[in-house]
């Protein structure tokens, strides 16, 4: 049986110095930023804010300088991320490009693709979305049916992507399409493409979620032409790329900090009261213990990434435990404050109202709890 390795990791001095810079920046930039907005954290979209981060060199931090990156360590980047998330900064616009599309292009893209996209992602000007899921393909990603058919020097695409976060505002989708159907080899006939979203034939329809917001989308492709220069990696070779991409998607601190701004508001509200029941204190303390431990685990994953290891399994552990905690915090606020949270009420009430409604998604997006536990079970040698 393999046991999971979470080696302790010390953040380097450069990261600690950076932390104060980021804190100072966020303190002035987010002064007066409402709790409800902070509660969105990495779902909050603000192109101007992303551009400002780009100017400071806080996007594409680990990438080579020739592509607009800053050649800093993954641990420096980690500190920037956790400061952004704990402060509830609106980072959604550049988040996906920085987190996974950029690294994917560095690993598998052509020189021309890197030059075309990476510098503008790093400047906080070019925004990406992830086109994996489809109406009939969620957990079972290898079943995607949207087809890209070769025309010789290009591809013609037909089908529908679903749940694509931010597609209505992004510039580019990195999409997974079926390029061949072979009996018994579902993983073999898949290819990834860079699709500029203003290409003719693409219809993007925002889908309202249960909280009333429209954050994800249905994206329909009708005879969309994409030149072969937009293919990422090998034809039919996308499965291993997608797996690597999902590892980036699952390994960051956003996987346990989505509700952190509400947790901070809750503690602040308690702080303002003269008395607390021991139950209040115990419940807050228990959540603090879990947060502190998840952070240690998450920093450890960052350390392994920095050392060039592949902590996909450990990242799944953090995402699964993290989602459980994230989903508990809105309920904790409901329990401890013991009042209904009204929309339009402002302050912590509105932040809590938002997160109560959004919590179900935390164990779905980026891979469901069941799929993650399956991955962990495989790591234990059970399957």
């Amino acid at each position: 049986m393999q046991t999971f390795r979470f080696d302790p990791c010390d953040l380097p001095d450069t990261a600690l110095a950076l932390r104060s810079d980021v804190r100072a920046f966020l303190a002035s930039e987010l002064d007066g930023f409402p709790a409800r907005k902070r509660a969105e954290t990495w779902m909050g979209w603000d192109a101007d804010f992303s551009r400002k981060l780009g100017e400071r060199g806080w996007i594409g931090m680990t990438w080579p300088k020739q592509y607009g990156g800053h050649e800093r360590s993954a641990l420096d980047r980690y500190v920037v991320l956790e400061e952004m998330l704990s402060a509830g900064a609106p980072v959604a616009a550049h988040w996906i490009g920085d987190r996974q599309s950029g690294p994917l292009l560095l690993n598998y893209g052509t020189e021309q693709q890197r030059q075309k996209y990476l510098p503008s992602i790093a400047r906080g000007e070019s925004f990406f979305c992830i086109g994996m899921s489809e109406p009939d393909s969620g957990s079972d990603l290898a079943s995607v049916r949207t087809r890209a058919e070769s025309t010789g020097d290009g591809w013609v695409i037909n089908g529908t992507k679903l749940w694509t976060s931010g597609a209505h505002r992004a510039h580019v989708m990195i999409a997974l399409f079926r390029t061949a159907t072979e009996e018994g080899n579902r993983h073999g006939g898949l290819t990834q493409f860079l699709v500029d979203l203003d290409t003719p034939g693409i219809t993007i329809r925002p889908i309202r979620d249960l909280s009333g917001n429209a954050h994800f989308n249905e994206v329909v492709f009708e005879d969309v032409l994409v030149p072969d220069t937009q293919r990422v990696g090998e034809t039919h070779g996308a499965w291993k790329q997608v797996t690597a991409e999902l590892a980036y998607e699952r390994s960051g601190p956003e996987r346990y900090l989505s509700c952190y701004p509400l947790m901070a508001e809750l503690v602040q509200e308690m702080h303002g009261k003269s008395e607390h029941s021991s139950r209040d204190e115990i419940e807050i303390g228990r959540a603090v213990a879990e947060l502190a431990t998840l952070r240690q685990m998450s920093v450890s994953v960052a350390g392994m990434l920095d050392a060039g290891q592949n902590p996909a399994l450990e990242a799944s552990v953090v995402k699964d435990l993290g989602a459980v905690l994230e989903q508990r915090i809105p309920g904790l606020a409901t329990d401890l404050l013991g009042r209904p949270f009204h929309l339009g009420a402002g302050g912590i009430d509105e932040a809590a109202a938002y997160l109560v409604q959004n919590a179900p998604s935390f164990s779905l997006r980026g891979g469901t709890r069941e799929i993650l536990r399956g991955i962990i079970a495989r790591g234990l040698g059970l399957r």
Partner: protein
């Protein structure tokens, strides 16, 4: 793991695998002191791992000692090894010599008596009290804590824990053999007791995980190993995640103690909350996976699960430590919380 840790880990695993077979465990549970096992532990200097080299110890740090403290759980060691490691460390911290033999420690009320100190109240519910000739008593002092070594106490109220480890009260009529002051927190006994129990839990969770995974692969029902059932897989994945989480939390606590034993309270509290909560979840999943056979004395899973249940509330349970964390967090306010978490 560094070189010393690898060495400690290899030695401990070999020693416990060789010397700690089922009859030894069963005899220990019947109240028989496992002399041969203790001898082997003592010959390897395990109990004095945290004692400075000047006083004849290994001079190792808490992160190194963690290897042994976790091994106490992984091997369900029926000895006061964790107690000895802490007690010896306390003596060393107070500049006192460390005697041979098993040691234990307890909260006390120590009062000066001429050049010496006396213990005015019985030491209560002391682990392995009757088995340890020497006991380290600790009480608050204006410069930290007063630490005193007592010999030949009179034990009363002898009971056993759920783990079948002996516990008793101790009274002393004679003054301390030696005493000194250590710059440690006023609640030293609670804090360092809690962290060694958390470490034991981390080790025991690892052990029950291993046993449950192994068993699930071997046990066939409906024509296939039960490990093929997704419900079973997911339970074990949950157990594995909790085991990993406790391991991380106790390592962080060890590092914090190493950096400064006076300011490690937050990290120790985090470790004990996580450990105590995970102990309950882990024991429950391990038993569920084993079905009825795991409920028998014969099978032996209980050597570990009874320790999980026993250690979870010892030196403060999840609620006690969570309340401390919660109080601190609320006192500090919303801004302070992240600063505290990210400072580690």
């Amino acid at each position: 793991m560094n070189e010393l840790q690898t060495m400690l880990s290899d030695t401990a695993n070999r020693l416990f695998t060789d010397h700690l077979q089922k009859p030894v465990r069963e005899a220990a549970e019947e109240g028989q002191w496992p002399q041969l096992l203790w001898q082997a532990v003592e010959e390897n200097g395990f109990g004095h791992v945290l004692v400075s080299e000047a006083r004849g110890g290994a001079g190792a740090g808490w992160s190194d000692a963690m290897v042994l403290l976790r091994a106490c759980g992984t091997h369900a060691v029926p000895l006061p090894l964790a107690e000895t490691i802490v007690a010896a460390w306390l003596l060393d911290q107070a500049g006192l010599d460390v005697p041979e033999g098993p040691l234990t420690f307890a909260q006390s009320d120590l009062q000066p008596d001429g050049d010496s100190v006396v213990c005015t109240v019985p030491l209560q519910a002391v682990p392995f009290a009757a088995q340890c000739k020497h006991v380290v008593a600790v009480s608050p002092h204006k410069d930290g804590v007063r630490i005193a070594l007592f010999v030949d106490g009179k034990s009363s109220n002898e009971v056993t824990t759920i783990a079948r480890d002996p516990v008793a009260d101790l009274t002393y009529n004679a003054p301390a053999v030696s005493h000194g002051i250590a710059q440690l927190p006023a609640d030293t006994v609670l804090q360092f007791g809690a962290v060694v129990r958390a470490a034991g839990i981390a080790g025991a969770l690892q052990a029950v995980l291993l046993q449950a995974v192994q068993y699930a692969g071997d046990r066939v029902q409906f024509g296939r190993p039960i490990s093929q059932f997704q419900a079973v897989q997911h339970q074990l994945a949950e157990l594995a995640s909790h085991a990993a989480s406790v391991g991380v939390a106790v390592d962080a606590a060890a590092r914090a103690i190493e950096a400064n034993p006076r300011t490690a309270g937050f990290d120790i509290a985090v470790a004990k909350v996580r450990a105590a909560d995970a102990a309950q979840i882990g024991a429950s999943i391990a038993h569920q996976t084993h079905g009825a056979i795991g409920f028998t004395y014969e099978h032996g899973l209980h050597f570990w699960t009874r320790r999980l249940w026993s250690w979870a509330p010892e030196f403060g349970g999840a609620a006690h430590w969570a309340q401390r964390l919660g109080k601190e967090a609320i006192k500090g306010g919303g801004k302070e919380l992240w600063t505290t978490i990210a400072a580690r």
